[in-house]
């Protein structure tokens, strides 16, 4: 809501909203890629032109003109790649339930209605005075890796020192890892079962990277405050985000978390996507106040 401290903070940090609108997207390519995850390339010029990394689309799971009402609702998906020049965006998703299974049957050439781009982006990576930007650690878990692809490309373009840390249960579930590598940022990989990269949790990689940063030191910050060891952007399952929240707090590192909640509308009218404010009573709303929140803003693990 206007006047909220969260909104003011978000605007200051360049966590922007974009003018969304309904758009009929053409499916340019659609393929199963890993263990149960799919990559979907959409020609959606408005969204491609207006979107910032961290934002999402609400995507129909039945092709445009389909007569059925089931599954009923659009589904939210974070943008993986954003290509204003070709008018294309990609999303990467896991066939998890009825909605995404229906989506996975939509062939290339079909049209899908979407709303986009929605929500608040990651903070502007270029918002720091030159030389004063902390190192940026991107943390992605499983199907939370894809939004890090757009994020990595954006941060690199802004000249940031970026390291991506990604993990999943096993190699096949490292969604969009190739795309992440293609951005040129260094990537550290781990899996629960050791089938790719280190056998570790991605939060252990994060703790390690922060420890390294603390001893190695971040860029010298002008002024009295101690420079943060790093800035963290994270997306992944909620237990991972809770761990990141804790690790970041302990390390004194500013962290931005991309959060999921069940959504009906995706654009701020239904109030389904409430997430408790960390301080004080009441709720923020993931679709308009997020999905990217500063770690201190929200109380995770409320069961939603």
């Amino acid at each position: 809501m206007a006047g909220d401290p969260e909104v003011a903070a978000a605007e200051r940090e360049g966590r922007v909203r974009s003018p969304w609108r309904p758009e009929r997207a053409r499916v340019v390519a659609h393929a199963r890629r890993g263990a149960g995850w799919f990559k979907l390339t959409l020609h959606a010029p408005h969204t491609a032109g207006a979107a910032r990394p961290g934002q999402f689309v609400e995507l129909a799971v039945l092709p445009a003109g389909h007569a059925g009402h089931d599954p009923l609702l659009k589904r939210p998906f974070s943008l993986c790649e954003i290509r204003p020049s070709t008018g294309e965006v990609t999303v990467v998703y896991r066939a998890a339930g009825r909605g995404t299974r229906a989506l996975s049957a939509v062939p290339a050439g079909a049209e899908l209605d979407l709303l986009g781009p929605l929500g608040r982006s990651f903070p502007d990576p270029g918002r720091f005075v030159p030389g004063a930007a902390p190192r940026l650690l991107l943390v992605g878990g499983g199907i939370g890796i894809p939004p890090m692809v757009a994020a990595a490309a954006w941060a690199r373009e802004a000249g940031r020192d970026v390291l991506a840390l990604v993990g999943a249960r096993s190699a096949g579930e490292l969604a969009a890892l190739d795309e992440l590598r293609a951005t040129g940022v260094p990537v550290e990989v781990c899996t629960d079962d050791g089938s790719a990269g280190r056998r570790a949790l991605v939060t252990e990689l994060l703790a390690g990277a922060l420890a390294g940063a603390a001893s190695g030191g971040g860029p010298a910050a002008g002024g009295g405050e101690a420079a943060p060891p790093a800035e963290i952007w994270a997306c992944g399952p909620e237990p991972m985000l809770i761990a990141v929240q804790r690790i970041a707090r302990e390390a004194g590192a500013p962290a931005y978390l991309s959060v999921e909640r069940p959504m009906a509308c995706g654009f701020g009218v239904c109030m389904a996507c409430a997430i408790p404010r960390a301080a004080g009573p009441g709720y923020l709303h993931v679709c308009v106040d997020g999905p990217v929140f500063r770690a201190e803003e929200v109380r995770l693990g409320d069961g939603a």
């Binding site: 309904p22 009402h69 089931d70 009923l72 909605g99 209605d113 069940p262 409430a274 069961g303």
Partner: protein, 318 residues
């Protein structure tokens, strides 16, 4: 053929057309204003508004079901003072026809909201009686005939604006509730609110909604809503506003033909924010194709002598 006349008078509320948007599915309209002028809608029905801000329910508030959805938002709303300060002036600037949906936990709370709604800030009031009546042990006002009459009569005293009572479908005889509202001075009834339902997460072996129960809406409920509108339109003299699963022009026409003077589009907005405009286009096309000059001529046009209650076979289901 000349442009069809879509205007309707609904219990004293004059509307450009019969296509409204439903409470809780349009918030206070700001999120739609960049897509189309709100003045193109028959009316905007606001989110249910209480005397004070309500935070809403904790946990999971939404679950999709076959051709429908469950919500247990818990009437999160910023309260009537916020409405007066921020939303009402803005809505007026948009030129929207505004129906304020009001909620309360006691008759006094409803009255407090209604008293704040002058003609400057609202064109009509819609009484949401699905709220739990804390003084009567938490059962909804809308499932007790006595409480329905009582709260309607009290709000009737508190406002001169056109007053619609929004009926719950979770009752044996919706007609009796419509009559109670009419009797207590309502200018119209809107129906239906959501059907009480639930879903279970078999993986976690617990209800999907933290609140266990939620309100079912969307195309799944349309046959029930249409039946109730048909029944009520045949039983009361005040106009009926049809709600429930309306997603296309055909759906809206079904409700008009059943006897609704206007309709509200709710859940369909989530899937397609432009649905009301597409529905309006479809109604216009239907009127042209079928030679209807005034939309009011469609109202109740499917009701004939053969379909009157007394001429029907008795065994309905099975």
């Amino acid at each position: 053929m000349t442009e069809p006349d879509l205007s309707v008078d609904v219990g004293g509320l004059r509307c450009r057309n019969p296509v409204w948007v439903a409470s809780g599915c349009f918030h206070y309209g700001r999120e739609f204003a960049h897509l189309f002028p709100l003045s193109e809608l028959g009316a905007v029905v606001t989110k249910g508004t209480a005397p004070e801000p309500w935070p809403g329910n904790p946990g999971v508030r939404m679950a999709e079901t076959p051709a429908g959805m469950l919500n247990a938002i818990g009437l999160e709303n910023p309260g009537v003072e916020h409405y007066l300060a921020a939303d009402a002036p803005w809505l007026r600037r948009q030129g929207a026809t505004v129906v304020v949906n009001i909620v309360g936990r006691t008759v006094e709370e409803y009255v407090r909201v209604a008293e704040r709604l002058t003609p400057e800030v609202a064109d009509a009031v819609e009484l949401n009686i699905s709220c739990p009546n804390v003084k009567e042990g938490g059962l909804a006002f809308g499932t007790s005939l006595r409480e329905t009459h009582r709260v309607t009569a009290a709000v009737r005293q508190a406002t001169k604006l056109p007053l619609f009572v929004k009926l719950s479908p979770n009752v044996t005889s919706v007609v009796d509730f419509a009559k109670a509202a009419e009797d207590a001075g309502a200018d119209g009834v809107s129906l239906i609110n959501t059907l009480l339902g639930m879903a279970i997460d078999v993986r976690r072996r617990r209800p999907v909604l933290t609140n266990v129960f939620g309100g079912l809406s969307g195309p799944a409920v349309k046959p029930v809503a249409l039946r109730m509108v048909w029944q009520v339109a045949g039983a009361v003299k005040i106009p009926v506003v049809g709600i429930g699963g309306i997603a296309t022009a055909t759906d809206a026409l079904e409700f008009l033909l059943a006897g609704a003077t206007a309709v509200q589009v709710g859940t369909a907005l989530f899937r397609n924010p432009l649905a009301p405009l597409e529905i309006l286009d479809g109604i216009r096309a239907y009127m042209r194709q079928n030679g209807f000059a005034r939309v009011t001529d469609l109202v109740g046009a499917a009701r004939t002598a053969e379909t009157a209650a007394e001429n029907l076979p008795r065994i309905v289901e099975g």
